[in-house]
């Protein structure tokens, strides 16, 4: 056994031992309890289209168009079933503190309203495992990291494929070209497309087919046409917006008075605020001019130009430092969120949201 394998074994054993010990102290760790709520909704009658009424103290809104064939307003964490022609019902599960489960069990050991949710508990443990698997790369590359990495890549690719199909192709393309079919088969809430939208989608379909032509052994050049269309449209959109928002508006925002007079509520000049506002404007205008000078290479950077360019470099360095600082802050925030998840949701070491304490 290599030294690294021994290290891994020791780390793993210590970690498992700590988790086992934690599981035997206090409330334990890493469990998710849920409370079931039965919801029944009466759908509005076609003749008297009133508001739908709901039982179990739930305010439910179900689209009449959607409800005619299937329920789209149902929550994702519930199961849906049609109980009759005009009512539907489903179950909702909401996470509850473990102490609520213990109290319910004490009151009635046969109760099933609050129960341990195995799917959510397994999901929690998987989330913890993959978080640690990714962190383990900081020590050294290892199979756990490889598994987590491969899973992220695979799930992401599949997810984007599904999103592209259901959020773009189905509603925008098929929904425009064959609205009746899409409405009856997969999206009852589809809004009927306009004639112009249908015509434009025919062109989009043709361009899409031309793009896919590059997969065929011959005629790959045909895909250059839709690519040219994309480049042209993107350039047109970007040029106008960049000129408006990044050139004209930014140039206007730089034209500031170098001496500013700030007055307070009584109308008197506030010398301190005026001084700092003036300094801020001078620094801003100086920075813009000096940074532009640094990137102006048609004149040799000597004398006044060289001095201004050097000041410009200082400005750029400070900007890079600020960017680095912001990036560090962002990454630490993400790390803190992950560590909070491990300590709170998984290990139950802390309870910042006062969730587990009744």
């Amino acid at each position: 056994m290599t030294r690294q394998a021994k290290t891994w074994l020791i780390i793993g054993a210590v970690f498992v031992a700590l988790i086992v010990v934690r599981g035997m102290i206090g409330q334990g760790l890493g469990r998710v309890y849920v409370k079931r709520t039965d919801v029944t909704v009466t759908l509005p009658d076609a003749a008297a289209a009133g508001a739908p009424s709901a039982s179990a103290n739930e305010s439910i809104n179900v689209s009449p168009s959607a409800a005619s064939t299937q329920v789209t307003g149902a929550p994702s964490s519930g199961t849906t079933s049609a109980t009759s022609a005009s009512t539907i019902s489903w179950q909702e599960w909401k996470q509850v503190p473990p102490l609520e489960f213990i109290a319910a069990q004490k009151a009635n050991p046969a109760q099933t309203e609050i129960a341990l949710s195995w799917p959510r508990t397994i999901g929690l443990w998987l989330a913890a495992f993959f978080t640690l698997a990714i962190f383990s790369f900081l020590y050294a590359d290892n199979p756990f990291y490889k598994i987590a990495e491969s899973l992220v890549v695979g799930v992401s690719a599949a997810y984007w494929g599904v999103i592209g199909f259901w959020d773009t192709l189905v509603p925008k393309m098929f929904g425009a070209l064959t609205p009746g079919l899409v409405k009856s088969l997969v999206q009852p809430s589809l809004v009927a497309p306009e004639r112009l939208q249908q015509i434009s989608m025919v062109f989009a379909l043709i361009l899409g087919v031309m793009m896919l032509w590059r997969l065929l052994p011959r005629g790959g050049w045909i895909s250059a046409w839709p690519l040219a269309f994309i480049v042209g449209v993107t350039a047109g959109l970007k040029i106008v917006s960049h000129v408006e928002s990044d050139l004209m508006a930014q140039a206007a925002a730089t034209m500031k008075p170098l001496v500013v007079s700030v007055t307070d509520a009584s109308g008197a000049t506030n010398m301190w605020d005026s001084w700092w506002a003036s300094v801020a404007n001078v620094l801003l205008v100086t920075g813009v001019i000096c940074c532009l000078t640094y990137f102006f290479f048609s004149v040799e950077h000597k004398g006044v130009v060289g001095g201004a360019a050097r000041v410009g470099i200082w400005y750029l360095m400070i900007t890079f430092g600020a960017s680095f600082g912001f990036t560090v802050m962002g990454r630490i925030a993400l790390l803190a969120a992950r560590v909070e998840f491990l300590f709170d949701d998984w290990l139950w070491l802390i309870d910042p949201n006062h969730f587990r304490g009744l």
């Binding site: 789209t72 925008k172 408006e244 993400l334 803190a336």
Partner: protein
């Protein structure tokens, strides 16, 4: 501080800066983990948070929302997904809370696929839990996700219903009371974007705000990585800006202060950002210390090389 194998044969013979330079980088990772986890445990147990002094950009966000008359329409775009929730969710929660407390009518949209679910979760945590009187369709609506990035933004300029033909429940836009008189995005006096990147705040400025700068105001909360790119737009094109978790903590403290009730402690779920400033403080101190040590090593080597 190069990592990897440590040759210990002549370690004691090396000068101090050489030994420091060869410290295994995994010790630094461990230090960073301790710097982040220590304050989390401490704050988690004690419940104490650090005080915040709001900056101009954060105050501007609060003021922009605060000055709107009750029942004003606000368009809130959730342009992020759970990967950035650690940084952005606290500010999104506070933004929705202030809007709900001000009785503003909120229209949620998403230009990121998972933004719709994140918006729904925020609606559940803030509106349904703490403002149950607000009614879906009349006081708020989640229009869900629309693919198309900038194309959706351009479409919003001319026809809101075309860009978002139905809400996340499947209800047609024309049947939603809150959107009855809304034809285009310029009818919203305030646009809020919580953004993790592309498409997000920058694109809102470029494609929407540039066209309607005088008609609607725009405030945004963004990740630390994208904040430096957005500061040049403040305050002309972006009226208020929450940069990363620090901006979120400043804004959160202002919202909490404005909604504080005597004798009633703020709910812990509205202290997320301020709680995360503890680990930020210690981790930043560690970073500063490491940068100083790195520079000391650099100059010590340079001096020895020159000698």
């Amino acid at each position: 501080m190069s990592g990897g194998n440590v040759n210990s044969t002549n370690a004691s013979a090396r000068p101090w800066f050489e030994r420091l330079d060869r410290v295994d980088r995994r010790w630094i990772f461990l230090l960073m983990f301790l710097a982040v986890s220590g304050p989390i445990l401490w704050i988690g147990v004690t419940g104490k948070t650090l005080p915040e002094a709001p900056t101009l950009a954060a105050r501007a966000v609060f003021q922009e929302i605060n000055q709107l008359p009750a029942r004003s329409l606000v368009l809130i775009s959730f342009d992020y997904d759970p990967a950035s929730a650690g940084e952005l969710q606290p500010m999104a929660t506070s933004l929705v809370r202030q809007c709900a407390a001000k009785n503003l009518r909120m229209v949620f949209i998403a230009l990121w696929p998972l933004g719709s679910q994140v918006a729904q979760q925020t609606i559940q945590d803030v509106i349904r839990d703490d403002y149950p009187a607000l009614k879906e369709g009349d006081d708020f609506v989640n229009m869900g996700y629309q693919a198309g990035n900038e194309a959706v933004m351009k479409l919003l300029l001319t026809d809101f219903a075309k860009a978002f033909p139905k809400d996340s429940r499947g209800e047609a836009t024309s049947n939603i009371p809150i959107l009855k008189d809304v034809k285009m995005v310029s009818q919203f006096p305030l646009l809020i974007s919580v953004s993790a990147g592309y498409p997000g705040s920058k694109e809102w400025v470029q494609y929407v705000i540039s066209a309607y700068n005088e008609k609607m105001n725009f405030v945004t909360g963004c990740t630390g990585v994208s904040a430096p790119q957005l500061y040049p737009y403040f305050p002309q094109q972006i009226a208020g800006l929450l940069g990363a978790i620090k901006g979120a903590a400043e804004y959160e403290s202002m919202v909490n202060e404005s909604l504080a009730v005597d004798g009633v402690a703020t709910a812990p779920k509205y202290l997320q950002a301020q709680r995360r400033m503890g680990p930020q403080l210690v981790a930043h101190l560690l970073m500063v210390g490491l940068i100083i040590v790195g520079n000391v090593i650099f100059f010590a080597r340079k001096r020895r090389g020159a000698a």
